[in-house]
């Protein structure tokens, strides 16, 4: 009987901790949109610039507003009935959309990983007949693999996602039962230097309910790996997952010079060259002219 009591007590403690961390914990790194900048929660809808609203969201891939198409009027004349454009929307619709976006954002603020299957269900009625397959597929939430995968996005950012199987979790939990409730999940990043082995670069406290994270490292050309584990009160780190090894891309010209090919007469502009224009790909059909 007392085992049950202890288990329940631990559960309550864990839940309380999670709550606590939710309210105080480290913010989730995400690409910035204006909503996050405007700190979301307390902002009155009037304060939002309607002409700018939604542009960032659309770029970030947030779904378009569901607004019924305007009724076709006979007397409009041929050329007067224009395509419905974002810029032509009435202000109320803009604001309603914006408010919807805010709510959606708050709801999902801590659950970083948006489950695509959720999206599937909510938008089912919108599905065009062209996309209906032989059955409606939903993607599994878990694949039953213990994995931590790092992806180098650019010289500054790394994206990490992970999955811990129930067996692995229970195994670790049983092994460290005593202090489990006091431990915190931690993503530990290591730098790898040839000849010097690895050394710890940083610890990121993540949430128990999160399975992915954007990490700002800003170390171009650096080779990295990571471990996901739990940090116990005495400072003991218990490893649960080990990642793949990645190398961040370069963000400037190399310091190495080949004597056979010395860069003489190299113009200054090379040294601070940055990728300036973002293009491209033809798949921008129907993109708004004003976007």
């Amino acid at each position: 009987m007392w085992i049950f009591a202890t288990a329940i007590a631990i559960l309550v403690l864990v839940l309380a901790l999670v709550r606590f961390r939710r309210s105080t914990g480290t913010p989730v790194e995400k690409p910035q949109t204006h909503m996050e900048v405007s700190s979301g929660i307390g902002i009155p809808p009037e304060a939002i610039d309607a002409s700018q609203a939604g542009q960032a969201d659309r770029q970030a891939g947030v779904a378009l507003p569901r607004i019924p198409p305007p009724q076709q009027r006979e007397d409009d004349g041929a050329l007067a009935s224009r395509r419905l454009r974002k810029i032509d929307l009435p202000k109320e619709v803009e604001l309603a959309w914006e408010a919807g976006g805010l709510i959606e954002f708050q709801k999902g603020a801590w659950a970083v990983a948006k489950d695509p299957s959720e999206h599937e269900e909510t938008d089912q009625e919108e599905r065009t007949p062209s996309s209906i397959a032989e059955e409606t597929y939903t993607l599994p939430e878990r694949y039953g693999i213990d994995r931590l995968v790092l992806m180098a996005r650019d010289p500054n950012w790394v994206y990490a996602y992970w999955e811990i199987t129930h067996e692995k979790y229970r195994q670790m939990y049983e092994k460290h039962l005593r202090d489990w409730g006091l431990s915190r999940p931690v993503l530990r990043i290591y730098e790898l230097t040839p000849g010097q082995g690895r050394h710890k670069e940083m610890d990121i406290f993540v949430d128990d309910h999160t399975d992915n994270w954007y990490i700002n490292i800003s170390k171009p050309r650096q080779t990295l790996m990571a471990e996901l584990g739990r940090l116990f009160p005495e400072g003991v780190f218990v490893k649960m997952l080990t990642s793949n090894i990645i190398t961040l891309p370069a963000d400037t010209v190399s310091d190495k010079i080949c004597l056979e090919w010395p860069p003489v007469g190299w113009p200054e502009q090379y040294l601070d060259f940055r990728a300036k224009i973002g293009t491209s790909s033809p798949m921008t059909w129907g993109k708004d002219a004003n976007a």
């Binding site: 970030a60 891939g61 695509p116 597929y137 995968v149 999955e163 891309p249 860069p263 990728a275 798949m283």
Partner: protein, 535 residues
């Protein structure tokens, strides 16, 4: 002697949008519009130049999904139907606008263009847009290359087996259509990772193209910056995109396509005219662009649009080609003096920019190539392979990981709207490799199921889906396509692992996703298979 070289590279790609059961599918129109507005006009341009004996020396990359769609009889038939509807609509337009001094000539222009496209497609090219490219290549007017199987974003893949399968399947598709291995390989979105090199080397590819800083940031420092290729550790040539060539054409603010006299893309009668009038030219009652547009850019910042004037637009295309040449001459002179070696300017563009987005694009290209053929120009057109004939020795260096998307790395394909796809893709990659190893010697139904599973995985891997999710244009379509292909793959994988493949389901998939008839799932295993290669 010229002072520099210019190499124009056009990359044509569309995702595989063949929907057997929905003939009126919106997304299929991407292909139809691109055929009318880009692929046929570009072919005509090249043939006109060839007739005048002008060596265009343009490198054209045709992506495997595009090749498969252009070769597909069902889509060919549907395209003809689409064009017939368009011609009918254009005829109606000439009647509606009769007597209108500005608009009637425009309506007549579209009618004659569509009729000409019909004659070209049906009578001249016999519904086959692949053969004409092969003919142009054999005459030495263009150089052809291809891309990864479904245009997957290679640096974001987890397993080397998947990278290998994407590249090999893409090259095999090209070989099946053209009978030889291409000399160059278009890395999807110019996205480079060192892992692609062993595969390209093994398959006999000689060069690829990178975003500017892919070469400029290579190690050690490249002596000639981005004006000469570097030799990669595997002995391939890595060419860099010239930033000025890109900016003058691509840039939204200062690029040529934004000229006030050019045709406005976003004003289309598909949006402007009443639904009942447009009738069957539209799919159902959904408004889509139809390719009949009467307005010009006028002012990019304003919604007021004037009517289009083809004569002035034509003159502008000639002037812009001259302006482009002027800057290339200057660039060549400057760098030639600085380096003592003739610089190479590589100008890669999406082919669909020319004609579809930028209506006057094919004309600009023709003018450019005609102007370049004139005596007094300092710049000579070459294909990338010909560069080696002038400069056989190049600096060895390791290129930097890069891509040509926004900000120069992988941000477009890995951000909030689309990062969720990778946990599925990577799990499927691992599953596919495992299945391929386990059933290496499968035959019959099992082999077919494995090949179909490989097709489904590759269709899910297309870089188009995360790109669309990022841009938000047809978000739901991209999500549906991704989920469907992963779902189909997982269902097949479950059946394979259980050893009970459902033949009916398999046949359904084989009929639906017909891409890559010569797919071999064994490409997903580690190491290379020793196959007979056409060279």
């Amino acid at each position: 002697m010229p002072k520099g070289f210019l190499s124009v590279v056009l990359h044509a790609h569309l995702p595989f949008v063949r929907h057997v059961d929905t003939p009126d599918c919106l997304e299929q129109r991407w292909l139809f519009q691109a055929i009318t507005e880009t692929y046929i006009p570009l072919l005509n341009t090249m043939f006109r130049l060839a007739e005048d004996g002008l060596p265009g020396r343009v490198t054209v990359s045709l992506s495997p999904p595009l090749l498969e769609m252009l070769d597909d009889t069902l889509l060919q038939k549907r395209y003809i139907g689409h064009l017939e509807n368009l011609i009918e609509l254009a005829e109606k337009e000439t009647v509606r606008l009769k007597g209108d001094i500005t608009l009637e000539p425009l309506a007549r222009m579209y009618l004659s263009k569509f009729r000409q496209a019909y004659i070209d497609y049906v009578d001249r090219f016999k519904c086959n847009l692949i053969q004409p490219w092969a003919a142009l290549e054999s005459e030495g007017y263009v150089e052809l290359c291809t891309s990864a199987a479904t245009h997957a974003y290679l640096p974001l893949m987890l397993t080397k087996g998947s990278i290998k399968a994407q590249i090999i399947t893409g090259l095999n598709t090209f070989r099946r259509h053209f009978g030889h291995t291409p000399k160059g390989f278009w890395l999807p979105e110019c996205a480079y990772t060192p892992d692609v090199e062993p595969v390209l080397k093994h398959e006999g590819v000689q060069y690829f193209i990178l975003e500017t800083h892919g070469v400029l940031f290579s190690t050690p420092r490249p002596r000639f910056g981005y004006h000469a290729p570097v030799v990669t550790p595997h002995g391939l040539l890595a060419f860099a995109r010239d930033p000025d060539c890109s900016k003058q054409v691509w840039s939204a603010d200062e690029g040529y396509p934004g000229d006030p006299w050019y045709r406005e893309y976003y004003r289309d009668i598909g949006y402007d005219l009443p639904l009942e009038y447009l009738g069957k030219a539209l799919p159902g009652n959904t408004r889509v662009p139809l390719g009949i547009k009467y307005h010009r850019v006028t002012d990019r910042k304003s919604n007021y649009k004037d009517f289009y004037r083809p004569d002035i637009a034509k003159a502008r295309a000639w002037e812009h080609a001259g302006n482009f040449m002027f800057w290339r001459n200057k660039e060549a002179e400057f760098w030639k003096d600085l380096y003592g070696r003739r610089p190479l300017m590589v100008a890669p563009y999406d082919a669909e920019l020319f004609g579809h987005w930028w209506y006057e694009g094919p004309l600009f290209l023709e003018n450019l190539l005609r102007r370049m053929a004139q005596e007094r120009q300092h710049v000579r057109p070459i294909t990338l392979c010909q560069y080696r004939e002038y400069y056989p020795v190049n600096q060895p260096a390791e290129p930097s990981v890069s891509g040509w998307g926004y900000k120069g790395y992988h941000q477009v394909w890995l951000e909030r709207s689309n990062h969720w796809i990778y946990r599925h893709l990577h799990a499927c990659e691992m599953l596919m490799s495992r299945l391929a190893e386990k059933f290496k010697s499968a035959t019959g139904l099992m082999e077919r199921a494995l090949n179909q599973a490989a097709r489904e995985l590759m269709l899910a891997q297309a870089s188009d889906w995360p790109f669309i999710m990022n841009s938000g244009t047809v978000y739901q379509y991209a999500v549906n396509r991704f989920v469907t292909h992963v779902g189909r793959f997982l269902k097949l994988a479950r059946q394979l692992e259980a050893g009970t493949v459902d033949p009916g389901f398999l046949r359904h998939l084989e009929r639906t996703d017909t891409i890559f008839p010569d797919m071999d799932f064994r490409d997903f295993t580690a190491g290379f298979r020793d196959t007979e290669k056409v060279s």
